[in-house]
Symmetry: C2
Subunit: 336 residues, 2 copies
């Protein structure tokens, strides 16, 4: 049977299209007997509403944006899944934007979002080299609810979802030293970011708490280029002044460290102990299994989304100073 549209349905019933539409939508303006007639004929013809039209009406304004630095990264991928687990239930559409670690791109995205279609934004910022005034400017201009997670502009007054970076980094470093490391190396990004600054501070304080003199060469700054990172890490790990342990502030630096050790035929953990911030699904399957500090990425996304929707739906900004701090999860495996 050919499918029927709403106009044909109305014609056969001798009703207006508007009445049929309201009857199908169970409007209180339409009598029960009319609704019954409409639904029976709709059923007979297997009438299907145009999903595009009804979605457009229903969805107007129920849209949020998520701005993250990258997605080739298990942490951000899981966080987005956490965000969408909340927004889907509440019938919000979610747009995802990648800043590719560029503040210029962040500003472009904000400019794009200023058109009034979205109701709020969840952000994990790119490097803080150029500051975060564009977020403050955007907020003052639009008054749109903003929630930051993980990489947050720590001096700005916005709601935030973070984890205990300082504390978990401190504890991870203590594990390395208690396992015998006398010369740990902290591998981190060269870009100033809330997460890496806190983790570096935790590392340094832990080193000093164990009676080891902290020196600048205990911190190695790596970048985005995997080949250059490989060369730098190989040079240091293969040198005479090599560290006896590595604490990777970012997962990809741990993967490169493993590659270097494999290529140099260096035994982990005998020659080099390794621990890393990581949400790698294969951490337990690596050779040897990688000790990790995992952030609750999915949960962070969920918390951020719940906070944002509360702000949107209550039209209140009372949450502006809320900071939710979640715990990271340390798992010591064969790499220490």
């Amino acid at each position: 049977m050919k499918s029927i549209n709403m106009i044909e349905l109305a014609r056969e019933l001798g009703l207006s299209v508007s009445t049929v539409s309201k009857a199908l939508g169970d409007s209180h303006e339409i009598s029960a007997s009319t609704k019954k007639r409409v639904l029976e004929l709709a059923k007979k013809y297997n009438y299907k509403p145009n999903p595009f039209a009804s979605n457009l009406r229903k969805k107007k304004g129920k849209q949020i944006a998520v701005v993250i630095p990258e997605i080739v990264n298990n942490f951000f991928a899981l966080a987005v899944d956490g965000i969408e687990s909340v927004t889907r239930d509440k019938d919000y559409d979610t747009f995802i934007y990648l800043s590719h670690e560029s503040a210029e791109r962040e500003r472009t995205v904000l400019g794009h979002l200023e058109n009034g279609l979205i109701s709020g934004i969840i952000i994990s910022v790119c490097s803080g080299r150029e500051g975060y005034s564009h977020f403050q400017d955007f907020y003052e201009r639009t008054k749109l609810p903003l929630v930051f997670f993980d990489r947050v502009p720590d001096l700005l007054q916005f709601p935030k979802v973070i984890t205990d970076n300082y504390h978990s980094s401190y504890e991870g470093t203590i594990k390395l030293i208690k396992a015998g490391s006398k010369k740990p190396l902290f591998i981190t990004t060269a870009e100033p970011m809330f997460t890496s600054i806190e983790r570096r501070r935790g590392f340094q304080d832990a080193v000093e708490s164990q009676g080891i003199i902290f020196t600048d060469d205990m911190v190695l700054e790596c970048g985005d280029d995997m080949d250059i990172n490989y060369a730098i890490i190989k040079k240091i790990i293969g040198s005479k002044k090599a560290p006896d342990s590595v604490f990777a502030s970012i997962e990809k630096f741990a993967i490169t460290t493993y590659q270097v050790c494999k290529d140099l035929n260096l035994n982990i953990p005998k020659k080099l102990k390794v621990i890393s911030y990581s949400n790698l699904r294969t951490a337990t399957l690596l050779s040897p299994s990688l000790s990790t500090i995992s952030q609750p990425a999915f949960e962070m996304g969920r918390e951020a989304a719940q906070m944002l929707l509360k702000m949107i739906e209550k039209k209140s900004y009372a949450a502006a100073n809320d900071i939710i701090v979640l715990n990271n999860d340390m798992a010591i495996r064969d790499s220490i």
Copy 2:
């Protein structure tokens, strides 16, 4: 010094705001001497243009959407990076939507995209259980350029970027059998999808080409729930009728197979050989290193984006029957 806006700049120069704006934009309507005056004063006051306003003007309509099933997946994450490597150069904004393997969600996203703000869409479809007529309907309604990649609706006439799934699956299966496997198991998704259907066909033909009788129990269908997958795979691999090799059509099934073997203390490759479609960065670091067939994910994204932008900018749909087929890359490692 307080920052200055364009109105104040114009007032001090005794010029109209429009003239100042054009001068700062290096318009040919403005004389060189006026431009010089404007730029000097702008420099003196450290004038910064409002990035939001100029972006909004510049970016109008230069937007594309990307619809993918998920991002906790190295393949799609890399493909999106490939797409954005093209769109950023051409100054297009890219929206990313996740369908979460739901055709209903795909239809919702399409409904949302029908508002006319975007210029084209790149799609990797979710399961084909409900068919793909919503894409055809959308196209007929909007005439917006669509390009499909990897998971494509094979019977619809749209431009597509795919890889040689059949051929690479055939070759991978031959590798397993030549290495001694007599009872290979193909682990794939229960959902009908272009990629998995082609790969399954390649597996079956290769098995039969080697004089092994293909039976239905050589194919295991798994789903999205990792715990259930683990239980199913463990039951089969631990049984008396266990296979002697696994070909995983999707990366996550290989990771689960590794976990099962670790927990059952089964040696890979002695007791079970493993190969998988995978873009896992840690494939070489697993214990043992995983043999993989890698799709050129980044390249596929790039090709799809180039095709789409060509269609958008030339306002021509001549590409509608174009199919770009890229080669996959097989790497045999210690798991075979």
